[in-house]
């Protein structure tokens, strides 16, 4: 199997149960025994009702949540790397170079301009500042984010504007793997279709994607297949 065809993400026997120590050790099981492989160019859409663990699973793949058992292997530097056991600096490296994450909420850092936020992933990977700026401006324009906002920090932006900054930060760069958590929730139809275009371009390039999409139209446009998390619901 050559690089072009091997799965970019291999999830094996993944399970997550939250233990709330300060509520008497209460246990909140979410899912168990999840098996998933994502190939280049695939967009796997996590489906299921609210609360079934879609976001939990996405975060577990990213290393933001700690699984209770199982493994999450990503293809990084010509080898599989298990995120669940990797050292922190290795995980940070994976996030920097291989795996992008469009989160639902934008964590706001005071005083960093929108443009600079979008340039950061490029600068961190050694892209020349002028080049980075051009590419950042390009993607912000495509997302119809008004030029007047580019020099401002996104703290005071509307939900939809912040959402687009989130998307721009990831789409500005060619990540081999992209995870998306409700990227179009606050967007109007026009902007939704821009995001769909961006995603399709990336998929055509061979990006492996896992996403959660509330909107049926977007889902229909990008999904290669659906993955029902409810199938793996953990016993209480």
């Amino acid at each position: 199997m050559n690089d072009d065809n091997r799965p970019q993400i291999v999830v094996h026997a993944l399970g997550k149960t939250f233990t709330l120590h300060n509520q008497g050790g209460m246990s909140v099981p979410v899912f168990s025994g999840v098996e998933l492989e994502v190939l280049p160019g695939e967009c796997v859409v996590l489906s299921g009702v609210s609360g079934v663990g879609k976001s939990t699973m996405l975060r577990s793949i990213y290393g933001n949540y700690v699984p209770s058992h199982g493994s999450v292997e990503v293809w990084h530097d010509h080898a599989y790397l298990d995120i669940t056991t990797a050292s922190p600096h290795v995980t940070l490296d994976v996030r920097r170079r291989t795996m992008g994450y469009v989160s639902q909420f934008l964590r706001v850092i005071p005083r960093i301009s929108t443009l600079h936020l979008v340039m950061e992933p490029l600068l961190e990977n050694g892209v020349d500042a002028d080049d980075a700026r051009a590419r950042a401006e390009n993607v912000l324009e495509r997302l119809h984010l008004p030029r007047a906002l580019w020099q401002l920090p996104p703290a005071t932006f509307s939900g939809g504007e912040q959402q687009r900054v989130n998307i721009a930060r990831v789409m500005v760069r060619d990540y081999p793997i992209v995870l998306l958590d409700e990227p179009t929730a606050s967007l109007d139809a026009d902007n939704r279709s821009v995001v769909v275009d961006l995603m399709k371009t990336a998929l055509a390039r061979g990006t492996a994607m896992v996403g959660i999409f509330h909107d049926e139209g977007v889902r229909g446009a990008v999904a290669t297949r659906l993955f029902d998390v409810a199938r793996f619901k953990a016993a209480a």
Partner: protein
């Protein structure tokens, strides 16, 4: 400004192994181990009495541990056990390769000499002998920490608390250290001043490719600045991992308590 993350070396810059410090029968910190690489920012969080300050003092060479070792990759001699060195050599490392930002700027500045002299001192301590060149570099650093260069000859007490902290930061970066320690760097400052200062620190640390260890009891500061967190309670590390993981999915009871206690605005 060059934001490219500096090339990661294969070996850690700092390696702490089984660090323990006892004060008689009282445990300061116990059996702490971790690694730090260039470009990483490690946050150490915990309440007062958790041992985080003791830990910081040990790893920055100021307090001899009761057990364990601190290994640092020096420019001159490669990886050395910091406490196996003579006092003179250890002080030289502190002077040439490290920086230490104190919570109270008065502990980290000479209050009776000018701000410019404070910032230039590390240069003089590392052999600089050209006044004009030092002054020029000092002015550049004043700019970088957003202080008015016209005030370069003012004494520290003529600056506000937030500005004194900027002086301290400039003084600790001007000599190009590879590792910087910060002890509650924004404690005691009001919120807006704190925000600007954190911003500045984040920018500087990233653009210079420094490694940094920041002790704080403020989770928001840790979230903003640190890539990784160590959570301490009663002298021990109860949890460690990537900042976003520790704060979004805390595993240990104490961490869960800490995170749930943070006020959300």
């Amino acid at each position: 400004m060059n934001m490219q993350t500096k090339v990661r070396s294969e070996t850690p810059l700092l390696q702490v192994q089984g660090l323990t410090k006892n004060y008689g029968l009282i445990t300061g910190c116990r059996d702490v181990s971790f690694e730090l690489r260039s470009g990483e920012i490690l946050g150490i969080v915990g309440e007062s009495g958790s041992g985080k300050t003791t830990l910081l003092r040990c790893i920055s060479g100021g307090l001899e541990p009761s057990a364990g070792a601190v290994w640092f990759d020096t420019r001159r001699h490669g990886m050395v056990d910091v406490f196996s060195l003579s006092e003179q050599d250890r002080r030289r490392i502190q002077r040439e390769e490290w920086g230490f930002v104190h919570q109270n700027p008065r502990d980290g500045l000479r209050m009776r000499v000018s701000g410019g002299a404070n910032v230039a001192e590390p240069l003089m301590m590392t052999g600089a002998r050209n006044y004009g060149a030092m002054r020029e570099l000092t002015k550049q650093w004043f700019d970088r920490v957003e202080l008015d260069t016209g005030r370069i000859d003012n004494k520290p007490r003529q600056f506000s608390g937030g500005m004194q902290q900027r002086l301290q930061i400039a003084r600790n970066l001007i000599h190009n250290p590879s590792l910087i320690f910060m002890d509650e760097p924004t404690g005691g400052l009001d919120v807006s001043v704190q925000a600007r200062l954190l911003d500045l620190m984040r920018e500087l640390v990233r653009s210079l490719g420094l490694a940094a260890i920041i002790v704080t009891h403020d989770i928001a500061v840790a979230r903003l600045l640190a890539d990784r967190l160590l959570v301490m309670k009663d002298g021990r590390v109860v949890e460690h991992g990537l900042t976003d993981q520790v704060l979004d999915d805390p595993q240990h009871a104490y961490t869960q308590l800490l995170v749930s206690s943070v006020l959300q605005i």
